[in-house]
């Protein structure tokens, strides 16, 4: 159906339009309560992204949980009976909180100490006991406790800071979304404990949950504020309440329908999608402002409003369609990035822009055609005010004259700026850190800073080693042949056979499971099978025993050396691993002296050492560092910085180390942990953004050639946004602002928004040139009403984004600042560069002709 018929329908049956819009908005509003907030940075990677799958597999394999970190920081010395009592009391309280995984909680009062005890006869005995079941009552005993911790590498600088000024409690929680509640309960307990030390609470789950809470506030405050700002601006420009209500309705309906359908379709509201409302609001009013400006311009007292609207719409329909499609393409191009929240953001804003366009071209004409004559009459005053030469008009006229007469200087200026920007882009530092999404004075960031200044680091990365040694085919064959000889018929044999069927092709066939099955079978077996079974058990046992790579002293020594080398780089505060446990237990089994703080010389000795470690109150602690089949082992790196750049450096350093000190055959390594995931999605984002920017650039260019039916105008239309994007990113490089997630997303926005101005500008210039048969006249006319419309729009959108500056969260502030600058810059570039270029081109043409 051609647009003229839709327009006719909208004007003659406005109530239909109203009804459809109201119903859509109402249905969407009903969806709103289903909102699900998602603040997990992990979701920046899709669920099946290999790095994320591996991360979660590692969490499962090594029983890793999300942790809240509670820190108690003293200005002097933490080892006093009073602060230790505070730790004991708080720990007991925390253990009663629902959702806390008691057996994995780490605190001085629940962990074990392993020591040597000398009896009266001088015999040394090994002892596992709670490190501090009850807080000591004397200073002397407190100091003894301090000495004990220094001897436990797993706890030193993790539970107690190296400077003896801080103690931490690591609180593992069952589910991340409980962290805010649990943190609040802990805060309530700490306020009742009398101590002169300060409590701090941090940890990624708390930060994420807190972020979600503030995101809500953000959406509830900033989006309405943006609406208000736009409303005030429109009032300032048009001073006609009935008239400016129309674009506000379009904006509100767009936002409500898009957010409602996002929620209704079951998408979670991530940090990106939480910005949809505030993005759509200004973009949605832009087309309406064009219509209103032109309508106010053309409408004369006594005219038939319907006819004027039709004229205006026939005039604006094509440029509006193209600006909307190009903006939408800019956002849709985000769907090319491999980051799910960015995809959703792009898809819904792109659709929102098209929806806003549809609403604008149907609702606005319908609305205007229903306006009372009095209301329309008042338009005259508005028109007069806009015709009157205000400050904006004066400035623009001067600007127009300047750009035409100084075209050469302007061109040189832009070339210089462009060159500088390219240099700036080369300086861009790619970096992000979710904790920095909070402002510097936020309690989460304060806690983060304080705890990291005392401890070895609260940022985790896990380096996972894996043995890939498989049993040989011959062994498997021999095993299966022996099983075939068994004549016993029993349930146990069936279990064994089904195990064999399932596991023949898996990585590990000779497992504990298999040995248990064989052992079970040996009790129901016929006497004739006893010998075969014994052989089978011995074979399986031998293979299983050989597969336990991480009992091998050579491998453990390799890991131990890597740990020391990592510390020596100064990039890592502490590395916890299996070698530390083995060495500590070995020392206490032997002399208790530093000289025995070594890895024993055989695999069996390591196994026997670890069997002793499991005789403590917390045998489960072992399985955070090695899997039960001893085929995987984990090094836990504690870093004091969560900057992606920092993690990247560590990862690269390890790669270099491994190439210089090769791992034993069949051992591979990989990374997991939140800090590592962050660098993975950051890399994906950077390359994804380049793809998305390039492809939308090409599409928009083709559309421009199509719209103007001219390659020259196509190129001209692309120039302002090319300059704007280059200059914005050049500025980021020069200012030294890290290229993070919000900054990356901005490229697509710039592309979508700054093309608008170019389209409107070029379309109008061409029309005026046709009318007046002179480019010079056309350009000077351009700096009257058309330039004012463009500037007005730039100001509306820029101001519309400023409420983002009030946000407590950094990504919103960044987006607010940069969008405002993008709007201002691209308006200026359009208004200055295009006239200069067009003047130069036509001057050259004139010279060539003469």
């Amino acid at each position: 159906m051609p647009y003229t018929r839709i327009l006719q329908l909208a004007i003659t049956k406005p109530k239909w339009v109203y009804t459809i819009v109201s119903v859509l908005a109402l249905v969407s509003l009903l969806m709103m309560p289903l909102i699900q907030i998602d603040t997990d940075p992990e979701n920046m990677l899709s669920k099946d992204a290999p790095a994320r799958v591996f991360h979660n597999q590692t969490k499962t394999d090594f029983f890793m949980q999300d942790m809240i970190v509670v820190g108690l920081v003293s200005k002097t010395n933490i080892f006093t009976p009073q602060t230790l009592k505070a730790i004991e009391t708080l720990t007991t309280k925390i253990l009663t909180i629902d959702g806390v995984i008691d057996e994995d909680l780490l605190s001085l009062s629940v962990v074990d100490n392993i020591t040597q005890e000398v009896s009266e006869t001088g015999e040394k005995s090994i002892r596992f006991q709670y490190l501090m079941k009850k807080a000591p009552s004397t200073d002397h005993a407190s100091n003894d406790l301090q000495d004990a911790i220094k001897r436990l590498p797993m706890l030193n600088n993790t539970l107690v800071s190296g400077d003896n000024k801080a103690i931490a409690i690591y609180v593992p929680i069952k589910s991340k979304d409980m962290s805010y509640d649990i943190a609040q309960q802990i805060r309530a307990y700490t306020s009742n404990i009398s101590t002169d030390a300060d409590f701090h609470i941090t940890g990624l789950p708390v930060a994420e949950d807190q972020f979600g809470y503030e995101m809500f506030v953000q959406m509830g405050v900033a989006a309405p504020l943006a609406g208000l700002a736009i409303f005030v601006l429109l009032w300032y420009f048009f001073r006609n309440l009935p008239l400016i209500i129309a674009p506000m309705i379009v904006a509100m309906a767009t936002v409500v329908i898009i957010m409602g359908s996002l929620i209704g379709l079951g998408f979670t509201v991530h940090i990106m999608s939480s910005m949809i409302a505030i993005f759509l609001m200004p973009i949605a009013v832009v087309d309406s402002v064009h219509i209103l400006s032109e309508f106010a311009d053309r409408f004369k007292q006594g005219d038939d409003a319907k006819n004027t609207v039709k004229k205006v719409m026939s005039h604006l329909y094509t440029p509006m369609l193209f600006t909307s499609i190009t903006s939408a393409v800019g956002f849709y191009s985000l769907m090319l990035t491999p980051i799910p929240p960015v995809k959703i953001f792009g898809a819904f804003i792109g659709t929102g822009i098209l929806l806003a366009f549809t609403l604008t071209i149907t609702f606005i004409p319908a609305y205007i055609s229903r306006m009372t004559p009095q209301a329309l009459g008042r338009l005259q005053q508005a028109v007069q005010r806009m015709e009157a030469k205000g400050k904006l008009a004066l400035v623009l006229e001067k600007l127009g004259g300047f750009s035409v007469s100084n075209s050469k200087f302007i061109m040189i200026g832009f070339v210089v700026a462009f060159a500088l920007s390219i240099q700036g882009i080369s300086k861009i530092e790619i970096n992000d850190n979710p904790v920095n999404w909070f402002k510097a004075n936020h309690e989460i960031r304060v806690a983060d800073k304080v705890l990291n200044s005392h401890f070895a680091g609260t940022y985790d990365a896990w380096l996972v080693f894996k043995s890939n040694n498989k049993a040989s085919d011959e062994t498997l064959l021999a095993f299966n042949q022996l099983v075939g000889q068994l004549s016993t018929q029993s349930q146990e044999l069936n279990s064994l056979k089904s195990y064999i069927e399932q596991s023949t092709h898996s990585m590990s066939f000779f497992t504990q499971e298999l040995i248990v099955l064989l052992d079970d079978l040996s009790f129901s077996a016929l006497e004739s099978d006893e010998e075969t079974l014994e052989t089978l058990i011995q074979l399986a046992d031998k293979e299983f025993n050989n597969s336990k790579a991480f009992l091998n002293p050579e491998l453990l020594t390799w890991m131990d050396e890597l740990q020391s080398a990592l510390i020596a780089t100064g990039m890592v505060g502490k590395v916890n691993g299996l070698p530390d446990i083995v060495k500590t237990v070995n020392r206490e089994l032997r002399s208790g002296e530093q000289s025995d703080f070594i890895i024993p010389s055989s695999s069996n000795a390591v196994a026997q050492t670890l069997l002793q470690y499991q005789s403590s109150h917390r045998p489960q602690d072992l399985w955070h560092f090695v899997t039960k089949n001893y085929q995987q082992s984990l090094l836990w790196l504690q870093m004091t910085s969560g900057d992606n750049q920092h993690t990247t450096k560590v990862v690269e350093w390890v790669d270099g180390y491994v190439s210089k000190h090769p791992l034993p055959d069949g051992i591979t390594y990989d990374w997991a942990g939140k800090s590592y995931l962050n660098i993975v999605w950051q890399d994906a984002m950077v390359s994804g953004m380049v793809d998305s920017l390039m492809s939308s650039f090409v599409i928009v260019f083709l559309m421009m050639v199509l719209l103007f039916r001219s390659i020259k105008y196509g190129v001209l239309a692309m120039l302002p946004l090319t300059f704007t994007i280059t200059m914005i990113y050049g500025l980021i490089g020069w200012v030294g602002k890290a290229y993070d997630m919000p900054i990356a997303v901005l490229s697509a926005l710039t592309l979508g928004l700054s093309i608008d101005f170019a389209i409107h500008f070029l379309q109008r210039v061409r029309e005026l040139e046709k009318e007046t048969q002179s480019l010079t006249t056309a350009l000077s006319l351009m700096f009257n009403e058309p330039a004012r419309a463009i500037s007005r729009n730039a100001i509306v959108v820029a101001i519309g984004f400023t409420p983002l500056l009030l946000s407590p969260l950094m990504p919103y502030i960044t987006v607010g600042v940069f969008l405002a600058s993008i709007m201002a810059l691209s308006a200026i570039v359009t208004l200055v560069l295009l006239p200069a270029l067009m003047t130069t081109f036509s001057a050259n043409k004139a010279t060539a002709v003469s």
Binding site: T60, F63, T96, I101, D102, E103, D112, E117, S119, E123, K124, S125, I126, R127, F128, Q129, Y130, K133, K134, Q512, E513, I515, V516, D519, F523, D541, K542, F544, N545, K548, L551, N586, L589, R590, P600, S602, S603, N604, A605, A607, Q608, T609, L611, Q612, Q614, S615, S616, H617, R618, P619, L622, W623, T627, K628, N629
Partner: protein, 268 residues
């Protein structure tokens, strides 16, 4: 003591005759100390000495299994009194030859030694906390050797048609992880069939249950038991095989010499 044992043996023989006779002979006991002593007797003091092959399967929350196999030798110095104990590990293969040597003392701390063959090391294990994990399982040392009844105060809470239900409170709450526990003791065998441990908030934290008993050499013997950690459902099952009583093991077997040179003839 032998009197009690004789009565009990008689009971077992008679009880196998008719159901009626059970109710006649098993008139309910009301003295809690008596019940506790009988339960302690049935659980840890059957015969003068004994031997069993044990297999522990430790199962974590993900269903991963670990196996421990060992042979236990035990000899009582007197019923309900001191005991000698040796635990010889055979699997996993890498800990084969590891031995625990224990002298359980009723009125004093136990003496415990450890032998680690790969380190060629005999090490005394300090007295003190016995509620630490037994080689990584959900069983504590105390569950294997028997918790001294003198550590707790017992009350008879209920007597049902087949069980005595006792409640126990630790005399020194600071030395244990529970606030109290409940025992369900079989009236006929005096075997504690279920023990539930509770924390200070009254939540169950740990459960021991007997899954299978069998009469061996005239003694009702637990062949299969299970301890579950309630919070995450992880558990350890312990099964006994080749149980034998009254072998006549001499005291000398329970000496330090057996650590480095296992008494093979007594382990067969």
């Amino acid at each position: 003591m032998t009197f009690i044992k004789n009565v009990r043996n008689a009971l077992i023989i008679l009880s196998s005759l008719t159901l009626f006779q059970i109710t006649v002979f098993a008139s309910d006991l009301t003295d809690v100390t008596n019940i506790v002593n009988k339960a302690n007797m049935a659980s840890y003091y059957s015969g003068e000495d004994g031997r069993a092959q044990a297999r522990m399967i430790i199962v974590d929350t993900q269903g991963n299994k670990q196996m421990r196999q060992f042979t236990i030798l035990r000899k009582d110095q007197e019923d309900l009194g001191n005991q000698y104990m040796l635990v010889f590990f055979s699997r996993p293969t890498d800990v084969k030859g590891t031995v625990f040597r224990v002298t359980k003392k009723v009125n004093n701390d136990d003496d415990r030694w450890l032998y680690l063959p790969a380190l060629d090391l005999v090490k005394r294990i300090s007295a003190g906390d016995k509620r630490t994990s037994f080689v990584g399982s959900h069983f504590y040392y105390e569950d294997v050797s028997g918790r001294n009844p003198q550590e707790d105060t017992f009350t008879l809470v209920n007597t049902t048609h087949d069980s005595y239900i006792l409640s126990a409170k630790p005399k020194k709450p600071d030395t244990v992880e529970f606030a109290h526990y409940k025992i369900v003791i079989n009236k006929q065998t005096f075997i504690p069939m279920e023990v539930n441990y509770y924390n200070a908030q009254g939540d169950e934290i740990r459960k021991m249950e007997v899954l299978k008993t069998k009469e061996v050499d005239g003694f009702t013997t637990v062949l299969h038991s299970k301890i579950t950690q309630i919070s995450d459902g992880s558990y350890t099952e312990m099964q006994f095989r080749k149980v034998k009583y009254n072998l006549g093991i001499p005291n000398s077997v329970f000496s330090e010499r057996s650590l480095r040179t296992p008494p093979k003839s007594w382990l067969k």
